[in-house]
């Protein structure tokens, strides 16, 4: 199921019960699935065209006047085109603007590196007052969108383009998704794999692989809350499993891997290995070639498994 679709549905539902919800779009409302909200509540939907600086600043103005403003387009443009506006007009005054974007990471596919935003978590994470989320599936999205709507202040939520399998059962309760908390999906004691977004599935596959081939029991954690990061859980995993591997569809600089490494090194140092885009720009790939693309850039089950073994080899005996 498609996370963008889940976002569109969640927004529509929110709009029904909460008149303060408004949405600003940038010529991508069909793609972001915010069009449904716009069709139902045309007076609360503002399409400003291809002008992202204007888009997020208008959202800030709506929030100043008491609205809960969702601002959406592709990650290449928010934050890619308007880091300054996000920083100065949304984060600095701590406004109720929720940036929910799609097409993050390499899985954008055919559009190529210009559209493959792999720096967004790094830039947004560095801004005071901003919180950064990378949900794992449509169920997470449904719950998190509602949570952030009623949690004061700015959020950045990154969604991928492709549809993906569910990680959580559809019946998963809302309170399973708390801002600043990670969720242990699979327990284990020999190492922890902390992942976010589409990499969750690969992390779980890697855990299976390691159990089968190496007899290792790996813990898999959904770290959808990149900021605030669950420091307690990071420390606990470091302590209980001795090694941590992170996996994200993002540059290895500044994203989940960095956040986890920072938390662990200050609280419970343990060997860490980051799996992510190795500080390189991506490239085009047709939709049916996405797996090969991820393969080429090291975002694979095998790479995660290899990283676990490497991190474990550095553990002090």
């Amino acid at each position: 199921m498609d996370m963008r679709g889940a976002y569109g549905d969640a927004l529509l539902e929110l709009g029904k019960s909460e008149p303060r919800i408004v949405c600003v779009g940038g010529d991508t409302t069909d793609s972001l699935k915010t069009k449904k909200f716009g069709d139902m509540y045309p007076e609360r939907m503002f399409n400003v065209g291809i002008a992202e600086a204007n888009l997020v600043s208008i959202a800030a103005g709506l929030a100043i006047a008491g609205k809960i403003a969702f601002a959406s387009t592709y990650a290449a443009f928010i934050p890619g085109r308007c880091v300054d506006q996000i920083r100065n007009t949304i984060c600095y005054p701590n406004l109720d603007v929720k940036l929910v974007v799609s097409h993050s990471g390499l899985t954008v596919g055919p559009d190529g590196a210009s559209h493959q935003q792999i720096e967004d978590m790094s830039t947004t994470r560095a801004m005071p007052n901003m919180r950064v989320l990378a949900p794992a599936d449509a169920v997470s999205v449904k719950h998190l969108i509602k949570t952030i709507a009623f949690t004061a202040g700015p959020f950045y939520v990154r969604l991928p383009r492709p549809a993906s399998e569910l990680v959580y059962p559809e019946s998963a309760p809302a309170d399973q998704f708390k801002i600043g908390r990670g969720n242990i999906l699979v327990d284990g004691s020999d190492a922890t794999i902390m992942a976010c977004g589409l990499m969750i599935k690969k992390a779980m596959e890697a855990a299976d692989l390691l159990k089968r081939d190496n007899g290792l029991s790996c813990r898999v954690v959904d770290m959808f809350s990149i900021k605030p990061i669950d420091v307690d859980l990071v420390s606990r995993c470091a302590k209980e499993t001795g090694a941590i591997v992170t996996a994200e569809e993002h540059n290895i600089i500044g994203g989940l891997g960095s956040a986890v490494a920072e938390a662990a090194s200050e609280n419970y140092p343990a060997p860490i290995k980051r799996v992510g885009v190795p500080d390189r720009f991506g490239e085009s790939a047709r939709d049916e070639e996405i797996d090969s693309l991820l393969d080429k850039y090291g975002l694979t089950t095998k790479e995660i498994a290899r990283a676990v073994l490497e991190a474990r080899s550095r553990m002090q005996k």
Binding site: V22, E43, R44, F46, V48, G49, A51, A53, N54, S57, I58, A59, A60, G61, L62, A63, I64, A65, G66, K67, A69, D84, Q85, R87, N88, T89, Y92, P93, N94, L95
Partner: protein, 548 residues
Amino acid sequence: MNMGFNMRYLELKRQIREVRMLAIQGIAEAGSGHPGASFSAAEIMGTLYFRKMNHDPKRPDWPDRDYFINSKAHSAPGFYSALAVAGYFPPDEIRTLRKLGSRLQGHPVRYSDHQKNHSVPGIEYSGGSEGIGLSVGIGIALASRLDNKRSRVYVLIGDGESNEGQIWEASMAAAKFKLDNIVAILDRNRIQQDGFTEDIMPLDPTKDKWAAFNWQVFEVDGHRVEQLMDALTKAEEIRDKPVMIIANTVKGSGIRHMANNPQWHGKAPSKKQLPVLIEELESECLIAPSIIAGAKENYEEKIKKVEREGIELIHLDVMDGKFVPNSTFLADTIKKLRRSTSLPFDAHLMIEKPLEHIDEYIDARCDIVTVHVEACNEGEFVQIKDKLLAAGISPGVAINPRTTFPEWLDPYIKDIDVVNVMSVNPGASGQKFMPEVLPKMIALNKNLREKGFRGYIEADGGIDAVTLQQVYDAGSRIFVAGSAVYGNSDIHSAIIELRHEAAVALERKLLDQATRLGVRKEWLNARKHILIPYATRLGIKGELHAIE
């Protein structure tokens, strides 16, 4: 459409002067800041905060308030000063500007619980990065419309920041959304950090650009509060279209050596010179030509002739043939003239029983109404000034050359915006100045200030290039000029000459003060390009030469 804006004109001018004085104090104290932009926007912010906007300093978060978004946030010292004068925080706090721990940050921060240590109530928007405020204003305007509120959004933008593409993104969006509850005001001072805007990145034809983006555009002199009020009032009538007011301004306006000088974009003056600068700001002069002077011709024509010269006020000598032997015109004539100009009307009522007629002059939308103390008693005067104040008209009193200022006026001194000290016996144009009035004017100015008078002393009667200097030195700052303007076949030169004389008087006063403060050399240095035309008159030719 009727002009005349019931904005208690002279008090508004005084409040704006206070804004400039506070701003320069803050900048000098901080040792950095942007005097140029603070001064170019002083009238714009003053007209909005002190008159046009619906807001309440006691309830800064009042949901139905009008919003002011200061997109050109480097004008912060001026903006903070306007907020202080409006009553949002104690004016003295301006001394903390830009210092560690201050609520007055280098660029203003939106006030909230979260930022209350770095901001003051009344600030809606965190500025500093250029070109963003208009978009934020659009968001507020959209939300207000959604909520069926009558709130209006005023966004001040700069011409330098108009280099930013986002200004034009916002421009398109406001027109698309047919927002008629937003007014953008462009502080068109033509200077940005590196130099003149038309050299760095030309903006002209500015008006055509905004019109092409489907905005309703008005263009005004941004230092004339009556023109700003006129455009802001017209803006309220525009439907389904955003309004742009291009306010042509002078960067640094108010301090002559800073005016239109790119060097003063972001530089602080020395603290030692501060009192001289304050003195200059306090010394703002207004010239008020009296239209009954000179040859008999259509009054509208006479007004047009001086309006072209950028004159500040029109002095209207109303004579009823009873209080004075002559008759000129009454309220009905003023009412007709009111349609022809937005220039403030300074009506000097030389009539019997002014209380009986005061409503007519209020109805005629005069900006200042001065009554003779010889024509009313205390009870009548109180009713007159209360009616005037309620109507937003500056109350004034006039005294004849042989009248002493009556003590019964003392309790009302703070409500009086102008004291007209007649230097001829009222009743006819073209009389000779009575120099014996000068000592009276000096004493009156001193006594009245001590009693809390904050208005102007107006010199009226026989004012020309020679006597203007004398009444200036005696403390007068409004000069009624009759024959000296309209008696001259070349009105343009006549007005230039009067302004020149006022400038000589000002420069002499400032130089004397600088000398007393021990900063004469510094002052001459900062001011040399201004002082050159007055060097001979001030006897400083040699000194200036030595500096160069």
